[in-house]
């Protein structure tokens, strides 16, 4: 599990695609990225789909997933990848630092 705060983001999330032997492989088309919970993580993929920037939105736990077509021909063989859990907690800049008491205008007491 990766722990981050809402003051942080992952600027360069990288996708690695391999075959069964571990050698680099390619997929058909551009891999599609997604967040399992967009209220927690926001994903912005690069044009080639091989990397992304993942921004934190609010506290919670979510994952980044990627799907692609492993079949380079006419067929479709779905291939999915998913990140580890990302646990987002509230960052210091989003935490309360000041409490202000506003007295308002004074009023005359009612006569006993």
């Amino acid at each position: 599990m990766a722990d981050v705060t809402t003051d942080q983001f992952f600027p360069s999330v990288v996708l690695t695609i391999t075959d069964a032997t571990g050698a680099a492989a390619t997929v058909d088309g551009v891999p599609v990225w997604a967040s399992s919970d967009e209220t927690v993580l926001a994903v912005t993929a690069a044009a080639d789909g091989m990397s992304a920037s993942v921004d934190t939105v609010a506290p919670g736990t979510a994952r980044v997933s990627v799907s692609a077509d492993a079949d380079l021909g006419a067929g479709v063989v779905s291939l999915d990848g998913v990140s580890e859990d990302i646990n987002v907690t509230l960052g210091p800049s989003h935490q309360a630092t000041t409490m202000t008491l506003t007295l308002g205008a004074p009023s005359a007491k009612t006569a006993p």
């Binding site: 992952f10 600027p11 999330v13 996708l15 075959d19 069964a20």
Partner: protein, 130 residues
Amino acid sequence: MADDPNPQLRAELNAALADLDPQIRGLHDLAAVSISADLRASVQEQIVERERRHNLITTALARLDDAHDAMNMLQADGYPAQPLATIVASQFNELQEQQTDLETAIALFREQASRMTVGLGEPSAKPKPA
């Protein structure tokens, strides 16, 4: 001449046969004397069981003989050596051309991707709003 593939097992099976032979002969003799029908049935049952065991052991020994014969034929064939074959130059050239074609065809294929890994990298501080 090849060695017996399993002399220990052969000796064990032969010893078992040697034990069974007098048992079967004796049971047949017992079945021939004047005994009750129930006892005769019990004796007959033992004859059937022991003759079945005898037949199975004989079959196993025959298979050991077959294995021995097969090993002899293998050795006569030159086993375990298996020398490379020599062919005339024209045939060898034809083979090499086929190999080239096959390699060219194989190079047209790639193994399909089977795993995608998402590497998060290190988190960074968000840029402060202007």
